[in-house]
């Protein structure tokens, strides 16, 4: 005595947001039913566990059938199989492409390859996110990456158009794609304190300022790669540390400006040359792809950690970096103002974002 077949098909496809989320989270039908029972939906609607099971199975089936459409969200709008109101469609897509910050931190900057996918079970154990959900999120990253990799034009806009994602989510995906493409190292222990949103912010800065698309709107080029010419020019900044006069001049200008405005003035003064060397060296090395990967590690090691050990507040850091950046323009022998501004603008905002516990 058993139900052999049990289907429910509505002219307008019925989808329960709660069950959708459970499905996305990779719960099995039985687990999902348990969660729903605990959620109290049964008392609310005078339903039995049997009814709940049937409903959950049905919804799961619907989602599975929809899944292949969700892989190409644009298709969802002009497919004929399911009649789904536009707001529902948007919800489905947004939730399908949503990801867990803890998961993305694990794969951020890694190559989106089969190898990485194989390691997902480790990620799953580590993060407590079901393997199924991990796979979905990973596949989403990969799918978005593959599509926009080849596309010209602004990255965020491409993602938004091809995957019909809301703005914020599109930006996050842009960051993921950008990190995956440039293989930024994010997994080192020293970087663990950083959240995905920190990185996403930095990625946004880099995309907006350091890629080719950032300076001119030539459609042929892409947002995923850093502007090679700019990286080349960054080497010219080395003069700031190699030229002894310039370095001293710079220091005195900064110190004059900072004196009396901060409690850690002494530490600033003492560390100026170290910090400056650190930042300029990062700039000079960015032309090597390998050093690009270590960009965030370098920022932390060369700047953030020293400051933190001296107990700078973020206000201090902000003050310091502002004056550090601006003073360069007063140096009469320094010629590379544009490159400096472009470089320091990003560095400053990245550091400020990353400067927390």
């Amino acid at each position: 005595m058993s139900v052999e077949l049990d289907v429910f098909v509505g002219n307008t496809t019925i989808m329960d947001k709660e069950v959708y989320q459970l499905w996305l989270n990779g719960y099995t039908v039985n687990d999902a039913v348990k969660v729903r029972i605990e959620g109290g939906v049964m008392e609310e609607c005078e339903a039995s566990a049997e009814v709940l099971l049937s409903d959950t199975m049905d919804q799961y089936r619907t989602f599975q059938m929809c899944e292949r459409l969700l892989h190409h969200p644009a298709k969802l709008a002009n497919q004929l199989l399911f009649q789904i109101p536009p707001d529902r469609q948007a919800m489905l897509i947004e939730r399908y492409y949503a990801f867990d910050d803890s998961f993305v931190r694990e794969v951020l900057g890694k190559k989106l390859s089969k190898g990485t996918k194989k390691d997902l079970d480790d990620v799953s154990t580590k993060t407590g996110i079901t393997l199924k959900s991990c796979r979905r999120q990973f596949d989403n990253f990969k799918r978005v990456f593959k599509v926009v990799e080849e596309l010209k034009g602004p990255l965020v806009e491409n993602i938004r158009q091809h995957f019909l994602l809301p703005d914020q989510l599109a930006r996050d995906y842009a960051a993921i794609v950008f990190f995956a493409n440039n293989r930024f190292e994010t997994g080192k222990k020293k970087l663990h304190y950083l959240t995905f949103q920190d990185f996403a912010f930095c990625a946004g800065q880099l995309i907006n300022n350091w890629t080719l698309g950032a300076v001119d709107n030539i459609m042929e080029d892409m947002d995923v790669d850093l502007d090679k010419e700019f990286l080349q020019e960054l080497k010219d900044l080395k003069i700031l540390i190699t030229d002894k006069d310039l370095l001293d001049q710079h220091k005195s200008l900064v110190c004059t400006a900072l004196r009396g405005k901060t409690n850690v003035f002494n530490e600033m003064e003492a560390n100026f040359k170290n910090l400056s060397r650190g930042l300029v060296n990062i700039a000079a090395k960015l032309i090597n792809a390998k050093d690009v990967r270590d960009f965030f590690i370098d920022l932390v090691e060369k700047f953030i950690e020293p400051c933190r050990s001296d107990k700078w507040t973020s206000i201090d850091v902000n003050l310091y970096l502002t004056h550090y950046t601006n003073s360069v323009h007063i140096l009469d022998t320094f010629k590379h103002h544009a490159v400096w501004t472009r470089y320091m603008g990003v560095i400053k905002s990245c550091i400020l974002r990353m400067y927390h516990d």
Partner: protein
């Protein structure tokens, strides 16, 4: 060459990858119609090909246009091997043949493959140029409109209701042909799909011919069914109600007198084609000069030409048609036109036809021939008059058990047959079967309802091997060169028997007509149960044409009546004309409840009382019907779905033995279903059932019975007594205790239900009026707190001496089971209501939120279950399904599940399949007062009815003044002929508006516009909050889906889920391509699911139908609707005054 079909293939999208190497497809398209095929170029290497082809033109007979679908096949070009088919699209071009429907088919249609399902979409453009065909020997019936809707479609006005049309076509099932043993299943399924498309087309054309013959131009309540008889073939049969409809031009309220009455043809198609609508000119045309002109220029009288063509061989194949319409149903002049002068119009136009028209209709020689040849395959004919609708079975039970009661009913009905009143006889002459597939009627149409009549017959399917039998049929269908081994006459004869039975049952109830009529079959191996049921009724003669014989009665000579649906303007007084031609003055709210039969000679045990509304006529204590609740009915409280479910085991048997076993079981099954219904009805404190549908399904080892209906409390009927439990041997105390406990439970349930459904009959009114109320239910008094108002025994009340509460005796196990069944029905959750009819009594204020759905469950049983166990399982299955639905739709609360249509089947031994299609509609909680207010108004109206005579007189005057009919009088049309048109014109101006109800149903809440592509689907005939402005044609689609990778597709549930979703998608796409945005009267008529899990295979057949429509939101019509609304209320009140 009367038609040119043009098709253009524009583009494809989302095509599947056919070439693994390139991940692309080289697609091209074959466009086939009849035997002509065109091809597009190959569009290489694309999944979104842009063919943008030329117009492919097919020059074909309109007969073919009706029969054949346009077949579009998308293929993948392959240089070295055979081209791979990607999928097909069948396009029914019938909607393009009718001037008032769609003009072009254009849009993205899913490409469908029986194995892979939907594989991308194709954008096509299809048009038809029809040339006016003057050849009246033709076999086509282009222009006849078909509607699934079982009421007069919303934007039409019925000029005349002609009556019952039926037809069936038979063919071999490709699945069972020997050639298909070597064909792949896919090819065979393709062939089946195509064949059924062809057969449906042919069937529709033939029905259309009959309609034309009757002088109609439309079929309403068209019900087409398939019988998959297996080895013995495939039967496609259809029934419907022939009508003459006229489109209401919503922009021009003054249609009646406006010359642009014929505008439908103008704004939609080539002028003139619309005029092909047969019969219309004579019967409906307002007597304006223009109208007359158009008529005389190119409109042959179709009924006229039909008459003559009936001598054609093709028609004599279905000889019954001729027989039925010996008294032709058009304004009568055509057939009997011989005495008419030659100035008769058609004659005038086509002199060659004159002689033909005067020849009497040909005799049915062919039938008698075939009758001899017809092999008598029916074995056991157990025709039952079951559940005749009234009389509490309880008293019958007390008197001596189920069978006795049944037998008595049967014998009595047999007696009654002879004693039919002459008035009904006159009516019956109009057609062989005075049946109507309509379930809802314009106010005033339905005078009295007798009760449910049903007949069943068990037949043995047998293959007929003599191919000579089929000779008279056309074999166009069978292009794989096979003869039809079966001939339709056998099946025809079977149905004829059943219909005769129904007819005689109706007579026994003193009724001359059967409304809400439907037919169904259940097949298991070689045994087939044919069932038919309907509601015996007396209809107002003014809506019918009575035939030429009824001349002695003045009023009956005005056969025409015009009623309109959705009409914008109505004069209130017109409603009262419903009493025309009927001696008695009937009040609208209760009139239909009054018994039509002779109370001294009741065909079955029933308790009669005086009507609780008017106190003038007798009403039964309980009323069962298959129709929708009449809009004008006085109802107390709300309604609810009531189901009786029954499962009976039977022994496995073969052939005749099996048929015997089944026919022996049937009466018990029916009786028990009836008892269950009655118990459940009383438990809910209600006294009438509407939309009753009893389905009996036969399997190898069991019989399933499912009766669904909507229970209501009709104010006119007496309040139902309680249910009392009695033990026969009240010996020991625990037993007594047990009984009283149960009694208490039952009483509590009744009280709870009364509260839930807001049943508070206005008992005070009874006392004021002080009318004779018959002997009170003595026992029921024990349970009802209020004492009966009056105890005086009326001398007039001769019907009974021992009426009382319903008594259940529980000394046998059956009764205990019954009571358990009663009490296990769980109540619907808060905020939910359910019914299986079009509308829910007591709920008016629908919002625009609707959700149509289909749910299917298959249940596997354990072997060796007892009847009792089976019953419980089956009942639980239905209950759980309902619970699941409530849960699924909880976001729509407060809401009502309307038109809950359960279909049960036994696909295999030990499997029970239940399929439900319904629509959930939200409503606003406020405005619940409306109901009470309405009934108040209704009582007021009663007073008005006294004035009927006067109004009637006015009407007469009206008719006379408009009588100067340029058409009829000069041409010398008979009096009979001229009256209709005069009547039509006068009444058109002021036709009552039966849509008043639906109007009030609709909310005026503004609706946020959604995207254009949305297609609504509903099993109802209307869309809340919207106005249907155009009917685009009937949707009738048949699909087969198979799989050889069941597990991979998500098992049986995954497979069926996908398939149903695909079917919905295809229906929506075709409707959108016709230019529509909704399907109304949608139904899934067949869902045959077969699986073979061991082989990882499954197969499913689905047949769906509905009416494609275009609607506009009422909010968009706001400016006009304010005015209309007030007019409507006025009208509906007026209509109730009849």
């Amino acid at each position: 060459m009367p038609g040119k079909l043009k098709a253009k293939i524009v583009a494809g999208r989302h095509l599947p990858v056919m070439d693994r190497a390139s991940d692309l497809t080289d697609a091209f398209v074959e466009v086939k119609f009849g035997n002509t095929t065109f091809k597009t170029d190959v569009y290489p290497k694309s999944l979104n090909p842009q063919w943008n082809s030329e117009w492919f033109k097919f020059e074909v007979d309109d007969e073919d246009l009706q029969d054949e679908p346009l077949q579009i096949t998308v293929l993948d070009h392959d240089t070295y091997s055979a081209n791979d088919a990607i999928g097909k699209v069948y396009i029914d071009i019938d909607p393009l043949l009718c001037s008032e429907a769609a003009t072009v088919i254009s849009g993205w249609l899913p490409i469908y493959d029986t194995i892979h399902g939907i594989r991308g979409e194709i954008n096509v453009l299809v048009k038809v140029d029809l040339f006016n065909d003057l050849n009246r020997f033709r076999q086509s019936s282009c222009g006849v409109k078909f509607f699934c809707t079982t009421s007069i479609p919303r934007c039409y006005r019925a000029i005349m209701v002609h009556g019952f049309v039926e037809e069936l076509v038979v063919n071999e099932d490709p699945e069972y042909q020997w050639i298909d043993r070597i064909r792949t299943p896919r090819a065979s399924n393709e062939a089946r799909q195509r064949l059924i498309f062809l057969m449906s087309g042919e069937l529709q054309r033939k029905i259309g011919l009959k309609v034309l013959e009757m002088g109609g131009n439309a079929v309403v309540g068209y019900l087409q069914c398939f019988d998959l008889e297996g080895e013995s073939g495939l039967v496609v049969r259809a029934i419907g109600t022939a009508c003459t409809l006229e489109k209401i031009s919503s922009t021009l309220p003054a249609t009646a007198t406006h010359p642009s009455n014929s505008s439908p043809s103008k704004d939609m198609k080539e002028p003139g084609f619309g005029e092909e609508a047969p019969g219309v000119p004579l019967s409906s045309g307002p007597p304006t000069p223009l109208r007359a002109q158009t008529f005389s220029s190119f409109s042959p009288s179709k009924s006229y030409s039909r008459q003559s063509s009936s001598s054609d061989t093709e028609l004599s194949l279905t000889p019954k048609t001729v027989g039925i319409f010996l008294f032709p149903s058009t304004p009568a002049l055509e057939s009997e036109s011989s005495p008419l002068p030659s100035a008769h119009l058609p004659h005038h136009l086509w002199p060659g036809m004159a002689s033909r028209s005067t020849t009497p209709p040909p005799l049915r020689l062919s039938q008698s021939d075939t009758a001899i040849l017809r092999k008598s395959v029916s074995f056991s004919e157990e025709l039952l008059l079951a559940a005749s609708g009234m009389g509490s079975g309880g008293s019958a039970g007390k008197e001596g058990g189920p069978l006795k009661a049944l037998l008595r009913q049967q014998t009595q009905s047999a007696l009654e047959q002879r004693g039919v009143s002459s008035s009904s006889e006159a009516f019956v002459r109009t057609g062989e079967y005075p049946f109507f597939t309509l379930a809802a009627f314009p106010p005033g149409f339905l005078l009295h309802v007798g009760g449910v009549v049903s007949a069943r017959s068990v037949k043995l399917l047998d293959r007929i091997h003599n191919p000579a039998l089929g000779n008279t049929r056309s074999y166009k269908l069978l292009d794989w060169n096979s003869f039809t081994a079966d001939e339709p006459e056998t099946r025809d004869a079977w149905w004829e028997e059943i219909r005769q039975e129904i007819k005689s049952h109706a007579k026994a109830l003193g009724c001359h007509a059967v409304v809400g009529y439907s037919e169904s079959t259940s097949i298991c191996e070689e045994v087939c149960i044919l069932s038919a049921s309907g509601t015996a009724a007396i209809l107002s003669s003014r809506f019918m044409q009575d035939g030429p014989l009824d001349t002695e009665h003045r009023l009956s000579r005005q056969p025409l009546c015009v009623f309109s649906t959705g009409s914008e303007r109505v004069e209130g007084d017109m409603g009262s004309s419903a009493s025309l031609g009927f001696e008695e003055v009937v009040s609208p709210g209760c009139g239909f409840c009054h018994i039509p039969y002779d109370e001294l000679n009741i065909p079955f045990p029933a308790q009669l009382t005086y009507c609780y509304c008017c106190r003038r006529y007798k009403v039964p204590d309980v009323l069962f019907t298959t129709i929708d609740l009449p809009t004008e009915a006085n109802v107390t409280g709300k309604g609810c779905l009531i189901q009786a479910r029954l499962c009976r085991t039977k022994k496995k048997a073969q052939g005749e033995g099996n048929a015997t076993v089944i026919s022996n079981l049937l009466p018990f099954l029916e009786y028990e279903l009836h008892t269950q219904l009655m118990n459940k009805l009383k438990l809910r404190g209600m006294n009438a059932l509407f939309g009753l549908r009893i389905q009996i399904s036969v399997g190898e080892t069991m019989l399933l019975g499912l009766a669904s209906a909507t229970g209501v409390y009709l104010t006119a009927l007496p309040s139902p007594g309680g249910i009392q439990i009695a033990g026969k041997t009240p010996s020991d105390i625990t037993y007594e205790q047990h009984i009283s406990n149960m009694q208490k439970k039952i009483n509590d349930t009744i009280a709870k239900n009364k509260e839930l459904y807001e049943i508070n009959p206005p008992e005070v009114v009874e006392e004021i009026i002080g009318s004779p109320i018959p002997e009170p239910r003595q026992r029921s008094r024990l349970f009802r707190s209020q004492s009966e108002s009056s105890d005086e025994v009326s001398e007039l009340d001769l019907s009974h001496g021992k009426k009382d509460a319903f008594v259940l005796e529980i000394d046998d196990t059956d009764a205990v089971e019954d009571i358990h069944a009663l009490l296990t029905d769980s109540p619907t959750p808060a905020g939910f209501y359910s019914c299986n009819t079009e509308i829910m009594p007591g709920i008016q204020n629908w919002t625009s939120a609707i959700q149509m759905f289909t749910s299917v469950r298959v249940f596997r049983l354990n072997a060796n279950l007892t009847n009792q166990g089976l019953n419980k399982i089956f009942s639980d299955l239905c209950e759980n399904l309902l619970k699941s639905l409530y849960f699924k739709l909880r976001s729509m609360v407060p809401c009502c599940l309307c038109h809950l249509n359960f279909t049960v089947a036994i696909p295999e031994d030990e499997l029970i399949q239940v399929a439900v299609t319904a629509v959930a509609m939200s409503f606003d909680k406020e405005q619940l007062l409306e109901n009470g207010k309405q009934s108040g108004e209704k009582t007021l109206i009663k007073a008005i009815t006294e004035n009927d005579e006067q109004l009637q007189f006015n009407l007469e005057l009206n008719a006379e003044t408009s009588a100067p009919n340029p058409l009829s009088s000069p041409k010398g049309l008979s009096e009979v002929g001229s009256h209709p048109s005069a009547r039509a014109s006068s009444m058109e101006k002021a036709s009552p508006l039966p849509e008043g109800r639906s109007r009030s149903l609709r909310s005026n809440r503004s609706y946020s516009g959604s995207s254009v592509a949305v297609v609504k689907m509903t099993p109802l005939s209307f869309i809340p909050g919207a106005k249907i402005i155009k009917y685009l044609g009937i949707i009738n689609m048949f699909f087969i889906r198979e799989t050889t990778s069941l597990r991979e597709e998500g098992g049986v549930s995954g497979f069926l889920h996908t398939f149903i979703a695909e079917v919905f998608a295809m229906v929506r796409a075709h409707v959108a391509a016709l230019g529509g945005n909704a399907v109304v009267s949608y139904s899934m008529k067949e869902c045959v699911f077969m699986e073979n899990p061991n082989k990882n295979q499954a197969q499913c057949l689905i047949n769906v139908s509905g009416d494609a429509v275009m609607f506009v939101r009422e909010s968009e019509l706001e400016s006009t609707s304010v005015q209309t609304q007030s007019a409507t209320t006025h009208t509906s009140n007026g209509a109730e005054g009849t």
